[in-house]
Amino acid sequence: MAAPIARGAATSSLETGMVVKKAVSIVAPLALRIIAECPVTKARACDLKLPHCTVSTPVFMPVGTQGTMKGITVDQLDDLGCQICLGNTYHLGMRPGPELIEKANGLHGFMNWKRNLLTDSGGFQMVSLVELSEVTEEGVKFKSPYDGKEILLSPEQSIAIQNSLGSDIMMQLDDVVSSTVTGPRVEEATWRSIRWLDRCIAANKNPDRQNLFAIIQGGLNAELRKACLDEMTKRDVPGFAIGGLSGGEEKDDFWRMVTLSTDHLPREKPRYLMGVGYAVDLVVCVALGCDMFDCVFPTRTARFGSALVPWGSLTITKKQFAKDLQAIDPDCQCPTCRRHSRAYLHALFKSDTAAMHHITIHNISYQVCVSIMVNGFLLLLFAIDEIITLSSIFASSSL
């Protein structure tokens, strides 16, 4: 287990060495039940009850930007054990548009996905599509790459689209700046995000069915981030996301901001760390107190032939795998590893897209397995701790 990391005031109960077993926070339509907490780190295993099903955290959420996980069907995604996945407001708002999706019974009906959905607000596209966007107090102006027309994505617009999509968790529209940017722009973005959070909360038509998460900004500036935390935690939202990170900054700065954020976020609400996907980062950030993760990396890298394995990654298209007859990961139980060898996938990559789909399935399975393992490990630690506590109580009472 990792060495103990200095903790802030929010987790004072741990100084006594006792672990609080259950804490229930009911903010309908979301309920977080903390099942186990690590006695050494800030990690916790929880059950997150959402409108469509309960999700065990820590959880990795695969990203299906345009209402689909590229190359695989929802049945396959379901079979992999995915309980929540992502859709994107900007892309779906552009096409096919919220009116059509609303007619189709929301994004769930449109993509025929029966479990949970989380929609991003479109904020990140401000960074990723920065050439095509312009930020003002009113909102973000985008120039559509599809037909060149301009649209304004304001907090109200973003929430309206997300209401039409009907996702279980919606993200506020935040003013996103790349974590490598410094100077007054970062401060401007932070305060604007807080103002936009209030506008988003006011614009939410379905607070009884859809959860609106706030996104903590502040870049890599500790004071700014603390100020943002202080302000945003005053609002009664069902959950918080830690944003403005995972954009190419130094890891040393990254984890400092993560731990600062989790120190000041309420314990009984879920914490979503946006954009974190590498398995190593995921495990470290679980130890720092995060519950939910998303990243395009596993699915995107699969389409380039890169398969994720516990010891790193394999680029299946490389010559060295042409005659390698073992599975991607001999211990993996995903449909791809049960049936196909590296050599076959290497050969198939030259002929058909199905090779990418096989690797996508494997990568999603891998990420889901990592989070299940962490969850299981925490429960095990909790069980061990319980046994130790009970034994010591028994031992002292029998004296």
């Binding site: 007859l325 049936r339 076959y344 050969a347």
Partner: protein, 451 residues
């Protein structure tokens, strides 16, 4: 491999091809098709997704152009493509070319043909061709052939050469086949060439039939090579020279109307690459076919095969617009059997709001005094959100059973909704409108219900 025919009607054959596979445990209905794959995988589908479909063809088609570049791996692997690709228990047929991709012409010699893999052209001699078959380990395969007669204005001399070369390749293949232990029990299909020259077609068929092959492959007749009419003429001539007890596989033809025409001409098996081509253009297959038998012959006891396959008139109109005199241009154009999913008409969703009025009378003087049944028919009109007009015809049967002084009425409604022809939606499932309502009423009253 054995072809058991149950019926032959004016050239059309119906039957089963049994004894397929190494253990002879598989069979394929005739007329039938093969499952099209690339490098052993159905395009875009994983095995799990594929097996959510029912009634997959029992014979899978492999194409040498996607496998030739992997010869070394397969030879080291030693266990054939079935195990290499993780395929299910299926019969493997190996063809030379991929029917969905065209080959650049001009690379065939007296001793070699070429296939194109991802890395470029691979030249095959008969020896290399047979080495590949030994590595792939199919259950049946076509012999190496020169089929480059599809270009416009192919000279007669060139066509004659293709027939001669193909026969020579066949003889060499058979020789090596019998020497190769890994291919014992594997069937070879002889390839009939001849371009669009009738005499050459007949000659090729006659000569190929003399060889000890398991069946016949009809090459050079694919959709881009010639028109339907010429194709069926040539096939009819070819069939006359071929034995009846061996299957005939036609390469390169996949359009439903052409397939049906060729079945009538006597073909047994087809390749199923057409769905793949339709998918690649973003279209979905939908083809309502009406097969009408000649009404005068019906009921007279005379067996008349379907004389004409009628397309829905609307689709036929599209077909005529798309059809050109030059078959080679047709390949990427939509056929009448598809709808283009990018079309905005399929984007909008029709939400039908309808109401229906129905009147039920429970006469207090009913004969039985315990049960009264009334049937009423009503017609209602609803307007859809996508601005098409739907007409609903509702039939309701209403059974009223008096319970003390109250008459309980249960009615069942079946509503058939038809949309106007202005939309592309030709029909809506009839059961969409089934609803059951129960209502109470005192005797003798009329009531209306809305739904």
């Amino acid at each position: 491999m054995k072809l058991e025919l149950s019926m032959v009607v004016q050239g059309c054959r119906l039957g089963v091809l049994t004894g397929l596979g190494r253990a002879g445990q598989h069979s394929l209905e005739v007329p039938g098709c093969l499952l099209y794959t690339r490098c052993g995988t159905v395009p875009h589908l994983t095995q799990d997704t594929l097996h959510t479909l029912n009634n997959l063809p029992s014979v899978t088609q492999l194409t040498l152009n996607t496998l030739a570049e992997h010869q070394e791996v397969l030879e080291e692997f030693k266990e054939g493509v079935r195990k290499f690709a993780g395929l299910h228990d299926t019969v493997l047929y190996c063809s030379l070319h991929d029917p969905a991709t065209s080959c650049p012409p001009g690379h065939i010699t007296n001793k070699t043909v070429s296939v194109w893999g991802s890395g470029g052209r691979i030249e095959l001699t008969v020896a290399k061709f047979m080495a590949l078959q030994k590595a792939v380990q199919p259950d049946l395969y076509q012999s190496m052939a020169d089929g480059e007669t599809w270009q416009i204005n192919t000279s007669r001399k060139r066509v004659r050469k293709s027939v001669d070369r193909t026969l020579a390749h066949l003889d060499e293949c058979l020789l090596l086949h019998h020497k190769t232990q890994e291919l014992s029990g594997v069937e070879v299909l002889g390839v009939v060439e001849g371009g669009d020259v009738l005499e050459e077609r007949v000659r090729s068929a006659r000569e190929t039939a003399k060889r000890p092959v398991g069946g016949f492959c009809l090459d050079g007749l694919h959709t881009a090579a010639m028109e339907t009419h010429l194709r069926t003429q040539l096939i009819t001539a070819i069939i006359k020279e071929l034995p009846e007890d061996k299957p005939r596989l036609l390469q390169g033809v996949g359009r439903p109307d052409e397939v049906l025409a060729c079945v009538e001409a006597g073909v047994d098996l087809f390749e199923s690459f057409f769905p793949f081509q339709v998918t690649e253009r973003g279209c979905a297959l939908t083809f309502p076919f009406n097969i009408t038998t000649d009404p005068e012959a019906a009921g007279t006891g005379v067996q008349v095969p379907p004389t004409v396959v009628e397309l829905d008139k609307h689709e036929a109109a599209i077909g005529q617009k798309n059809g050109t005199d030059n078959p080679q241009e047709d390949q990427t154009k939509m056929t009448p059997f598809e709808i283009n999913l990018k079309d905005n008409r399929f984007v909008s969703i029709c939400v039908c709001a309808s109401w229906c009025m129905h009147v039920c009378l429970c006469p207090s003087h009913s004969i039985l005094r315990c049960v009264c049944v009334c049937v009423c028919v009503c017609v209602c009109v609803c307007v859809c959100v996508c601005v098409c007009v739907c007409v609903c015809v509702c039939v309701c049967v209403c059974v009223c059973v008096p319970v003390s002084s109250v008459c309980a009425c249960v009615s069942l409604w079946v509503c058939v909704t038809l949309c106007s022809p202005g939309t592309e939606r030709t029909s809506v499932p009839w059961w969409r409108g089934v609803a059951a309502t129960a209502a109470g009423t005192t005797r003798g009253r009329t009531y209306t219900t809305f739904w």
